[in-house]
Symmetry: C2
């Protein structure tokens, strides 16, 4: 009998980037112990020790060694449990480079722009930001059509790297649409991406792994009320 | 006789991130055609067509397919010419995740902070930024000691992913030290990193691939004069 591997995940239930690690672990059928962090209260000793540079979640701890940054964790899971479950990154170098390119677009440009529209108090800046978010979705629609080649996901018939990257933000997107009556993912503009989003959220590796939209709506409402009281 | 592979690199001579692609191609002994872009004048049709989203260099074009983003290009080169030359990323998943983590730290945090100190007109902001740059170098000194385990590079006895990532900025760092009389890489504070920097710049895969420091000093001086005239 082999020794049981230590796999720990430090996260918060509402974090989309923590959901990335959870989905990847689920795709690879890896058992793990989950530790909920309180980022508004005090962070755990384990988090501070494991991620002294950024002190952020997610942190994956595998046999005592921490792995940091969500997409880095997803790649680590893919490489470590490579014999188990589907490959998360595509196998051909060019397809891999496309998955990494679009993931960087989502993380460095598209999502930060969306978040900035929530934070800004200027109506002008918000309108300009939402226009950029919409333009980004058009680019992602084209990328999806080109990469998926008629299959269900960016990764083909199963969820892959870029699905996890963009898909992890869908719950926040849907929660925000519900909270503010917005229509960010618009069926008339990005039909393929809308279909992909529904398929992603309904997939058995995602459905019970990401938080419920209504719970996130409630969390966002409380968070907004809290920050407005403080401001 | 096989068909000659098409490998094109679009870049600018002074760009540190373009140097990353050049060093990786050199490590793998890949022949390529280089195209100098004029980012201050008009960008080439090939650049606009290959990178319509960001319109930035470097772009690697391999058999008609563009690969974008410098570290993504380095990974692509490592994976595509995997049988040629040393492996650029380490082979163990945990070592790979460390290389990716510290590279993200350099690209997303450390280098942008250094650049911000050049741009800001506030002496306070500049001093605070330079303090953060120094703290970042202390973290990188510790990371180097832990990762290199007494060998010459982050990658061991040969240059690897993290060497290319951080090392590509050394010419700009040295040029700035020369131009402003600063001492950013301080032997008394980060002795291992200073030794690493000299070894990196003297390595045969780097020496004639990165631009000469004096040429970059001249370029920076002209660029500063130009922007001050316009301001």
């Amino acid at each position: 009998m082999g020794e049981r591997e230590e796999v720990k995940l430090l996260g918060t239930w509402y974090s989309p980037v923590v959901a990335r690690a959870k989905i990847a672990l689920r795709l690879k059928s890896v058992d793990y112990d989950y530790f909920e962090e309180d980022l508004f209260g005090s962070k755990s000793e384990l988090l501070l020790k494991s991620n002294p540079v950024h002190k952020k979640v997610p942190v994956l701890i595998h046999n005592n060694k921490p792995i940091l940054e969500s997409l880095n964790i997803v790649e680590y899971i893919d490489e470590t449990w490579n014999a188990s479950g589907p490959s998360i990154l595509p196998s051909h170098p060019h397809d891999r480079s496309q998955a990494r390119f679009w993931s960087a677009f989502v993380d460095d440009k598209w999502f930060p722009t969306l978040i900035a529209t929530t934070i800004t108090k200027s109506e002008n800046a918000k309108a300009k930001g939402m226009e950029e978010v919409g333009e980004g979705l058009l680019l992602l629609e084209d990328a999806f059509i080109s990469i998926s080649k008629g299959e269900r996901f960016f990764g083909g018939e199963v969820i892959g790297f870029m699905d996890i990257c963009l898909g992890s933000f869908l719950v926040i997107l849907k929660a925000r649409e519900k909270l503010k009556g917005e229509n960010i993912l618009d069926k008339s503009k990005t039909p393929s991406l809308c279909k992909w989003a529904n398929q992603f959220l309904a997939d058995h590796t995602v459905k019970n792994v990401v938080p419920e939209i209504d719970r996130v709506v409630k969390f966002m409402r409380e968070f907004e009320a809290e920050t407005q009281t403080r401001a």
